[in-house]
Symmetry: C2
């Protein structure tokens, strides 16, 4: 039994880094199910890596909030809960709202160009979407990602893009929260960009918060329906 190859395509920086990226993907996409107990020796053998390198990857995953580690017990993939998802949206509302406020003030011309371009691409895809919102989630993702970049606040960018968003994607993949409100989301995105372009930070923040809260309410409703 051979250890498997882990993405040789990546610019291989360090083994631990590659393990981290690979495992992060598998956890986010659910190939390693939520709540799973992680066995260090087993995973190490699987990738033909030492336990040390693997442990480094695990610790990074922990700092992402994708794993929970307890001393002398081991690591488990984080459990997905309704409460956790709703909490996440509250934090996003606060953070992305601020990102919009800042983006309205500090965005570059390039930021706006890319945002508009993204929106157009978005609209085109939406045209041939008749019930199947397949690529919508990733598109929505790019939009939020790009807005945050425009805020020019490195701490904010890091917190959202390198931390929370992986958790968001994990929930989307595994609880399948693809927004069935694609058309509405598109209009909201459009208005947000306009506010940013107009330099109206206050409005931009308000719209983004309302946008995210609408998603949250949508989820909350769906969850209580399945109760």
């Amino acid at each position: 039994m051979e250890g498997e190859q882990l993405q040789a395509i990546e610019t291989s920086q360090s083994l631990a880094e590659r393990l981290f990226v690979t495992l992060r993907g598998e956890i986010v996409e659910g190939q390693i199910a939520a709540g799973t107990k992680i066995s260090e020796p087993e995973l190490a053998r699987r990738f033909n890596a030492s336990r040390g390198s693997l442990r480094e990857a695990l610790m990074r995953l922990e700092s992402l909030g994708l794993l929970e580690r307890r001393v002398n017990v081991g690591a488990r993939v984080v459990e997905l809960s309704e409460r956790g998802l709703l909490d996440l949206y509250e934090v996003r509302e606060a953070l992305e709202g601020m990102a919009c406020r800042l983006a309205a003030q500090y965005h570059t011309d390039e930021d706006l160009t890319e945002l508009r371009q993204m929106l157009a691409h978005h609209e085109k895809q939406e045209g041939l979407q008749a019930g199947q919102a397949y690529f919508q989630p990733e598109g929505d993702f790019d939009f939020h990602f790009r807005i945050v970049q425009a805020s020019k606040n490195d701490l904010l960018i890091d917190t959202l893009c390198n931390r929370l968003y992986y958790r968001v994607r994990m929930y989307r993949y595994q609880l399948g929260m693809a927004s069935p409100r694609a058309k509405r989301a598109f209009r909201e995105h459009s208005h947000i960009i306009e506010a940013i372009e107009a330099g109206d930070g206050e409005l931009a923040e308000l719209l983004m918060r309302r946008h995210i809260r609408a998603s949250r309410n949508n989820i909350e409703k769906k969850l209580t329906r399945d109760h």
Copy 2:
């Protein structure tokens, strides 16, 4: 030359954990200066620990944003910048504002009792404060800490209390940003608690954001004065 003892008083969970706590304290308080290059072998010898255990501590410090690590180069204590401090306050404004909104809705009776108690203690100390705002910073800290706890949003609590606040304290210690606006801060704290008690989340958020933004403006003014 003997390796030094690291807080035996702590409930020793694991060596790496203790190393982490110790180093975190030294970085926050500036005993290990900002921008310092970290030598793994040197620190390992200093604590009579193996490099492996030390590396684990370093990685946790990195995830706190207190260290920056680059592959095959090593770790440096993060550099303190004016921009970094202002960024930090923007994120706090967003997050703690939301914390207040949630606290107004979800706080327990115990939360309110502790907050009021803290405020009273705070007021008493302020009486004998005539220019020396020594303990003020920590008191202010406890207040914000307690508010966040009352939000009952685990992700928000973790992000602020286990991440950002260490960075805040590092800036306070090393750039000495003890608020010279103690009396005013006290009144603002008082009003925030009242809003939370009244269950007025909207007002509580507004007041907290204004409170933090006032601190930020204060800092910004001081920085431009020293230009």
